[in-house]
Symmetry: none
Subunit: 206 residues, 2 copies
Amino acid sequence: MVKQFFVTPGGNIRNRWQEAFPEASVVTRLMQLPEASKASPGVLWLDFSAIAQLDRVSMLEESVGLGWPVIVLAATPSESEAFQLLNIGARGYCHVNAHPQQLCEVGTAVEHGGLWMPPNLMQRLLALSLRVVPQDSAVGPDLSALTSRELMVAREVAKGGNNREVASALGITERTVKAHLSTIFEKLEVRDRVQLALCTNNVSTR
Amino acid sequence: MVKQFFVTPGGNIRNRWQEAFPEASVVTRLMQLPEASKASPGVLWLDFSAIAQLDRVSMLEESVGLGWPVIVLAATPSESEAFQLLNIGARGYCHVNAHPQQLCEVGTAVEHGGLWMPPNLMQRLLALSLRVVPQDSAVGPDLSALTSRELMVAREVAKGGNNREVASALGITERTVKAHLSTIFEKLEVRDRVQLALCTNNVSTR
DNA sequence: GCAAAACCTGTCCAAAGGTACGATGTATTT
DNA sequence: AAATACATCGTACCTTTGGACAGGTTTTGC
């Protein structure tokens, strides 16, 4: 059976942990992990809310070095911290006060080789991956077909501006913005400003 | 108990699947999924090796729409395909001929809310996250605030669809689409569909 | 120089988008 | 039983958008 180890310097056992994993062990230092169990599979939970800011990264690195999957319990989860820690080797990241039910989910997912983090962070991580990896091979729009002024209009629209704002930004009237847009739509073969915003964005971030 | 559904147009059941999940169901189309079981939890496995290239993305999108976690079985796994599909909503990605033991791991990790992909891809994904997010903040939109239906509408809009198309795609009226959109705008604090499309797609351009 | 393209603007109009009242029904929670 | 969240749809009203038609000026290239 897979054993759960909670590492928390203060030694404070949270009720939620015991509720989620009645069989779990709690230690205050990594050293205290029983040598005997190092051979069998296990999962390490690091209580970051009880670990000094400065020690966190090194402790995580040390934990990962043991060979077990590591889950970080954060007091105030943040995107940047999550990505940093997962990159170091953590395989789970959730709130230290998560419900026992959720802790079980996280533990199960991670001990089977999965990666677990809050849904919004998961969403974000995957969105980021797309920006770095070349998009689908479908040819992007040929922005070179646009004139310099049309390009400016397209850029403003790609930032989410409406006609009035684009006009103001470029010092022209709304009517002229419309004229440019009509040309742009035709050249790029898109239907409206939404599709323009989408296709120009995919290209610029490639 | 969580039920496993394998979707493979050819109807060819792989031995490995049955070995991993003796209780699994195999269907050739999404439509064939028993209505009765749609209420209980389940996991969808998409056999991409048996799905035409052109249908893959749309079928994945449709599968994700059902609300169950989706795992893609790829004939020739690639990094770019993995990231693209996971971004669309898949929660697992592995080789169609993976060992039954591994299939179990993947299934378990995913059904408990985890993300599973081959270790080398996992490593790469996490490495990328750091490269892209050197500076924190720039917090993306909190998509978790949206209901499932609102998410579907947002996704359609993010693909460039107008109200009529979104309504058709979701089988509701334009009026309802507008209702959902009004809520979405308020929740995500955006003004119109253009900004919605932008903020859900590329989270941190600009 | 002259034609072509690019740039700018006007009015009018139909379609699409978005909001403000509203309403109903279902499921879940308290 | 009441309250709450969610999803759905209706009418009315206003705004935004995009195109049609009709012009102007400036810049560019042969």
